[in-house]
Assembly symmetry: C2
């Protein structure tokens, strides 16, 4: 019987259509200002139907975020899948994070709005699970890369890869958030280019973590 399968497909498609509509509205208005009626209208469905597919507005929001996380992961995978030296890969990873940010600002914003503790009232356990798994996967990619750089003698042995990952990640994210929100202010009032500042921050941190061997290699490759 292919009918139940077709139904399954159609159901999945409905879910996708709803997500697409929700994304459109969330991109335009943000979580607070977007309304379920508006999303329903965009999806050409009634509001009640949305709730047959998603538990709540927040659930929908998180589902859209997950699309963003998937895209981000693809950026990272692509950036680190070459045969270049590991330090170059780490540098590429930083660049690809920035590239993701520039090409997907809306997603970037949503991803870091997720951390907002106000959320998480009525989110389906399933969506939350996928969320965690995506996080884990991204962290693993970063941490493994750093571990490799340590193993190969480019980064100092006394640095814990998880620590290094958190440090690099946090500062990059925070600076991109600054760029997203206040780039003009810093540029015009303070005369500082934040994109350049981000690059500086990354290379300061990375170099500070390197062995002599690493520094040598880094300067020959990146600069």
């Amino acid at each position: 019987m292919g009918i139940t399968e077709r139904k399954e497909r159609e159901k999945e498609q409905r879910r996708e259509e709803i997500i697409a509509a929700a994304q459109k509205v969330f991109f335009e208005k943000g979580l607070q200002l977007a309304t379920m009626d508006e999303i329903a209208e965009a999806a050409e469905l009634s509001k009640g139907t949305l709730y047959l597919y998603y538990k709540s507005k927040e659930d929908l929001y998180l589902s859209v975020i997950m699309r963003g996380a998937e895209i981000m992961y693809e950026f990272f995978e692509k950036a680190t899948a070459t045969n270049e030296p590991v330090l170059k890969l780490i540098s590429n990873l930083g660049d690809s994070y920035f590239e993701f940010f520039q090409k997907n600002r809306q997603y970037f914003r949503m991803l870091y709005f997720r951390d907002n503790p106000q959320l998480h009232k009525q989110v389906s356990q399933e969506v939350l699970q996928v969320c965690l798994e995506q996080d884990r996967r991204i962290w693993k990619l970063v941490i493994d890369l750093i571990q490799r750089a340590i193993d190969e003698g480019y980064l100092q042995k006394n640095i814990k890869p998880v620590q290094a990952a958190v440090i690099l990640w946090s500062s990059s994210t925070a600076l991109m958030q600054q760029i997203d929100r206040n780039d003009n202010y810093w540029q015009e009032q303070m005369g500082v280019n934040l994109e350049e500042t981000l690059r500086l921050s990354n290379s300061l941190l990375l170099e500070a973590m390197m062995t002599d061997k690493g520094k040598l290699e880094y300067h020959s490759i990146v600069i």
Copy 2:
């Protein structure tokens, strides 16, 4: 005529009473879950009265945030008002930021919720102005200190003080946000102490910006 003055004082006092009540409720529930009725009840006033003193819930929220910013500034002033060497002052500044965070988590959370773009619909121009001024004052304190360290030859001359300030500030803030939200996760699942990571991040960045003279001084002072 002392009456208009007394009235003025009483009005100011009302504003303070309302803020205090609002703070209590916001601390307990956060922006979303706190209701104006609840705040009114805590202030022993009717809801309508709140709106005579504040334009909106967000306006109230921002006003509470400003209290937090004031306290934070006092931490910073105290930490940098001694006669210690400038590198020690910068190190103290980092410590005092963390101390502020630990002793005033609620304020810390609110301060960085402010950046959320969802806000700022119905906020009085006056409150927004004070907000900007407070920001400016804090940045000035940090930037001036770094400028001094450059002038005295402890930090590299080619580093822009504003850039250094943004870098140090961003990474500190981002790591404290991690600590605030996910400390347990990193500690238990990843075996990493984020407080130690924060200190590491700060010293990596700071050292990377130092001159040889600076490094010498730094190691004799801080370690």
